[in-house]
């Protein structure tokens, strides 16, 4: 979701007061994040970048409410000429290969339109443009530009960056200017020998791409003619961005003039405003949504979503405006029809047929063990899967074997770095936070532990339990383990003395079934107790109740 601010008075003057908006916005699939007397902040879903633009947003809600359908069905067209040329240097290919641009003439940026344009461009490049990585947009006062233009690379040079009063060289911009610091990662590793991507006209540098434009060609409220460039790594995204921008200005009665892009082996013309046509049958609409509408209603609903459409024999031909870059095929049209119909108006209908529900055998299996544990007087706890080396190994006096532990690349929280290999450390933590409670404290947890075995992820389902009180000892935990083995029909297990740093030597045992180790139990070593600030004796057991879980996805 991307958020965008509009002034309430601009919406009210178009017939949308806050009450109307509160009802309307969710219906078109967006959200009101917040509002006050002055401003409204909207959340726009990522498929509709055209609605981050005030003109685009207004166009959508006007059509939806039927207030105005003037934009519906118009053909978005650019002028044929005059055009300007942009020459693309072959050497830019490795850094940021593509550029597109348009000339917009006769624009009106007065009142709040200037601010809306700036906000839109910022949000658009931030979300759809993936923080300028996929594409970035530059705005220039066309009257201050001397064509032709060159998209090329340059050594470290000086120019006055936007909103500054003195020259800075490219290096300084990248290390000191806030935009430089924010976006330098996009070009940093791609520039060799201190060459930087720039856009220049026949006289001067217009922009350090995609960081910052020059002060000299800056636009203001009074700018009448604009050059807009879009550079990036995706030709498709650049075309889509230019389509959305062009339609917005055309809706504001400006004129769009083309730009010829000269690559080494091809010449392209921007913008390329495509009006796609999609065929759909009413029957198909009804079948997918579960409603019954006729052709006439379908055409009306399409109009409310901003589509001009007509009936041709049994088919509806839907004309997709160029700013709807999210429409792939029929199913996207069907969603829009459902939105216009109103989700709340769709009558819920039961599915016909017999379906037999059942629970997952592994869940049932662990539920059985939970029941045993309750019977033995242990209460259940639930702990996170994510942990850290200190808690999982160091506090338990265990060796940390890097190769076998599943590790996370980056976490925002220090307490998270690996996936746990035992449930016991968390249980001891739980006892620690409960130290003011009346003893004995008896807790259990059933959950998965993870480790790597010959580079393969191994998931074992474990049952661990702990008992803390002044008289907790090996005999007690052995009695509980024995009872559990009996309850779960394991009568052929064997115990063997086990050496484990977390436990007191000579008071720790491992459980074997058919010579395979399935668990461990005993008295926790006082050093470990100290690490967890525990002041009474603690005994624990950890049993693998299902070894090496593999998911087969069978129904």
């Amino acid at each position: 979701m991307a958020s965008i601010n509009f002034l309430l008075k601009d919406l009210t003057s178009n017939g949308f007061d806050i009450k109307t908006l509160e009802n309307l916005i969710p219906k078109i699939g967006m959200e009101i994040e917040k509002y006050d007397d002055n401003e409204i902040v909207l959340d726009i879903t990522p498929n509709r970048p055209d609605m981050l633009d005030f003109t685009g947003f207004l166009r959508a809600i006007k059509a939806f409410t039927g207030i105005s359908t003037t934009s519906t069905g118009i053909e978005y067209k650019i002028e044929n000429e005059p055009f300007i040329n942009i020459y693309v240097d072959e050497k830019i290919k490795k850094i940021r290969p593509f550029i597109g641009a348009v000339i917009v003439k006769n624009v009106n940026l007065k009142e709040n339109k200037f601010q809306y344009l700036i906000n839109f461009i910022e949000k658009f490049t931030d979300t759809f443009g993936r923080k300028r990585k996929k594409f970035a947009i530059g705005l220039y006062d066309f009257n201050k530009i001397k064509p032709d233009l060159y998209y090329t690379i340059s050594k470290n040079k000086k120019f006055i960056p936007l909103d500054y009063n003195q020259e800075m060289n490219f290096n300084e911009i990248l290390s000191k200017h806030d935009k430089g610091i924010k976006y330098k990662n996009i070009i940093e590793n791609k520039t060799s020998k201190n060459y930087y991507p720039i856009l220049k006209d026949s006289e001067k540098i217009l922009s350090l791409i995609p960081i910052i434009n020059s002060e000299q060609s800056k636009i203001t409220e009074n700018t009448k003619n604009l050059l807009i460039d879009v550079t990036g790594i995706s030709e498709n995204a650049i075309n889509q961005a230019l389509s959305i921008i062009s339609c917005s200005f055309l809706d504001q009665n400006a004129k769009i003039f083309p730009v010829k892009i000269h690559y080494k082996n091809k010449i392209g013309i921007a913008p390329n405003l495509v009006h796609k046509q999609i065929k759909i049958k009413t029957n198909n609409i009804n079948k997918n949504i579960g409603i019954k509408i006729d052709e006439k209603t379908a055409l009306e609903l399409l109009q409310r979503m901003g589509y001009a459409s007509k009936l041709k024999q049994k088919n509806i031909l839907v004309n997709i405006p160029p700013y709807r870059t999210d429409i792939f095929d029929q199913q996207d049209i069907i969603e829009d029809i459902a939105i216009a119909y109103g989700y709340e108006n769709i009558e819920p209908k039961p599915i016909i047929g017999n379906f037999e529900g059942s629970s997952d055998p592994i869940k049932e299996y662990s539920e059985k063990f939970s029941l045993f544990m309750i019977g033995l007087g242990f209460s259940e706890v639930i702990n996170p899967v994510l942990t850290n080396e200190k808690l999982n190994f160091e506090n338990m006096l265990q060796q940390y074997n890097k190769n076998n532990v599943i590790k996370i690349i980056y976490s925002k929280t220090e307490a998270i770095s690996i996936i746990k290999t035992s449930l016991i450390p968390n249980l001891l933590n739980n006892l620690e936070v409960s130290s003011n409670q009346k003893m004995p404290l008896k807790i259990f947890e059933i959950g998965s532990i993870f480790y790597l075995n010959e580079k393969k992820i191994n998931e074992d389902l474990c049952l661990s339990f702990a008992s803390e009180h002044s008289k907790a000892n090996f005999a007690e935990i052995k009695a509980d383990v024995s009872a559990l083995m009996k309850l779960s029909n394991h009568n052929n297990y064997k115990l063997a003395e086990e050496k484990n740093n977390s436990f007191i030597e000579g008071r720790c045992a491992a459980i074997y079934i058919n010579n395979e180790k399935f668990g461990i139990f005993g008295e926790i070593h006082p050093k470990v107790l100290k690490n967890f600030n525990l002041d009474e004796s603690v005994v624990v057991a950890e049993l693998i109740i299902k070894k090496n879980i593999e998911y087969e996805y069978r129904i």
Partner: protein, 483 residues
């Protein structure tokens, strides 16, 4: 007279008075037994007990954040720093409420400005914070302290920052009538011994009366964790609605979490800032090479960007349990009969965790695979589920966007306590391209993914999720059963 009572009296006869600890020492009985014996003796008027009432205070999780600064303190400092009136919508809500109550600020036409009293407050110690810090250092306080600071403690209690319980502790016991002790009333029957029952033949015997109001030690039965009880409730409902429960891995390749669900490879959630990527293992193999190609094709056709297998192989912790749905879409064949599936499990988000935010959540994810299924069927199933789960909450549906469904919808409800809309999850019809890639061309697939934690506040008396994961046994022992 019971054995324990006799033992305690024996000690008191010589000592005349004693503390509970001394009695434990001398009789070797445990504390519970002593307390019981003392109560029995007190009822018989044989001994006197001095009791003192003390207050036990527990700081709530949120209060820890307040120890250095209360929100209202931060708020007036911020206003003062700006030297200006600030629009109230830009300020912390809790801060506003208390700054207003304290008469530190006044609000006119939506703008907050600081008062004289507010300016004074900036330079002085805030009494709420002072008391909170004292309580944090020493959690047992006597009646004197409590009475002196009653008002402030009451405020902290109402702000849900502290929990106060009183308990009476025995400070001293002393013996009353030394001469009568041996007498007691030996004719009354106290404990029913085995011999007594054997010999008993309806004689006219007087049983010793007990004080039914006497305190007994609380018993704490073993309990399931409330979150698992809630999850089981949800499982039961889906099963009743004809869904088959399945499960899948929490560690998976990006392919099953993202690519197979049509999430573009440069999507912002596919970033280390949002998702946990693994360094060991870095990659996981995707076994079905044909499927890889089909998925590559739908990505390149619709997103018109290059698609990289290496990105799809990256090992991650799933951000939704929909990866299980993706695996099942792959394994189910077009000749299988219609089926409803669901899975419940942990999902992960790379969040900075504090007392309000977690990195692990639970999600229930479901699929309905069949022919001639439509959007109205999906709405029906989801509404049925929530009706069964909690008939009191009214579910709203609205359009929303998720890359793998079309049409897509969001489910939410209006939380009347906070007057805010709580998102419950997303749902929709799986895109045809995905069905086709999974060899389910002729099937319709309905899908949903719903958060679980969001709903738990309605059934459990807790204020934050971290309370559940802390597993404070005191909380687990005393928490109410889920509704």
């Amino acid at each position: 007279m019971h054995e324990y009572e006799k033992m305690v009296l024996e000690v008191l006869k010589t000592k005349k008075e004693a503390k509970v600890e001394e009695l434990i020492e001398d009789t070797k009985l445990n504390r519970d037994a002593i307390i019981w014996a003392l109560q029995m003796l007190e009822q018989q008027g044989l001994i006197s007990i001095d009791r003192q009432k003390i207050f036990v205070i527990k700081l709530k999780e949120e209060a820890r954040e307040y120890l250095n600064e209360f929100p209202e303190e931060k708020l007036i400092k911020d206003i003062n720093k700006n030297q200006d009136k600030i629009n109230v919508n830009k300020l912390d809500k809790i801060g506003i409420i208390w700054a207003k109550k304290n008469l530190w600020i006044i609000i006119t036409q939506g703008l907050a400005s600081i008062t004289k009293k507010g300016l004074d407050a900036i330079n002085n110690n805030y009494e709420q914070r002072t008391i909170l810090n004292i309580l944090n250092k020493k959690n047992e306080q006597d009646t004197d302290f409590f009475e002196t600071n009653k008002n402030i403690i009451e405020i902290l209690k109402n702000r849900n920052l502290i929990e106060v319980k009183d308990k009476s502790i025995i400070t001293r016991v002393s013996i009353n009538k030394i001469n009568n002790i041996a007498l007691g009333n030996e004719n009354e029957v106290n404990v029913l011994t085995k011999e007594f029952i054997k010999k008993y033949n309806n004689e006219n015997i007087k049983f010793k009366n007990y004080d039914i109001n006497a305190d007994v030690e609380p018993v704490y039965p073993a309990r399931r964790h409330p979150l698992n009880l809630f999850i089981n409730k949800i499982r039961k409902i889906w099963i009743e609605l004809g869904f088959k429960e399945v499960s899948g891995p929490i560690i998976d390749s990006s392919f099953w979490v993202f690519d197979a669900l049509f999430s573009p490879q440069d999507h912002p959630t596919r970033d280390v800032q949002d998702t946990f990527f693994l360094s060991n293992p870095k990659e996981l193999d995707i076994s079905d090479k044909k499927l890889i190609n089909k998925i590559r094709n739908i990505h390149q056709k619709n997103w018109r960007e290059k698609w990289y297998e290496a990105i799809a192989k990256q090992a991650i912790l799933r951000t939704h349990s929909t990866n299980v749905s993706a695996h099942y879409l792959h394994s189910i064949s077009s000749t299988d009969k219609p089926i409803k599936l669901f899975t419940i499990g942990k999902i992960f988000r790379n969040e900075s965790i504090d007392f309000k935010h977690l990195a692990e959540f639970h999600q229930v994810d479901g699929l309905i695979i069949g022919e001639n299924l439509n959007f109205s069927n999906l709405i029906f199933e989801l509404k049925r589920f929530y009706e069964k789960l909690n008939p009191k909450i009214k579910i709203n549906i609205k359009p929303s966007y998720f890359p793998f469904v079309e049409p897509g919808m969001e489910l939410n409800y209006l939380d009347k306590k906070t007057n805010s809309i709580i998102e419950l999850g997303g749902s929709g019809i799986i895109r045809k391209e995905i069905c086709k890639a999974m060899n389910l061309k002729k099937k319709n697939v309905l899908a949903f993914g719903l958060g679980i934690e969001r709903l738990i506040f309605d059934v459990l008396p807790i204020s934050s999720l971290t309370e559940l994961y802390k597993n404070d046994i005191g909380m687990l022992r005393n928490i109410k059963e889920i509704k």
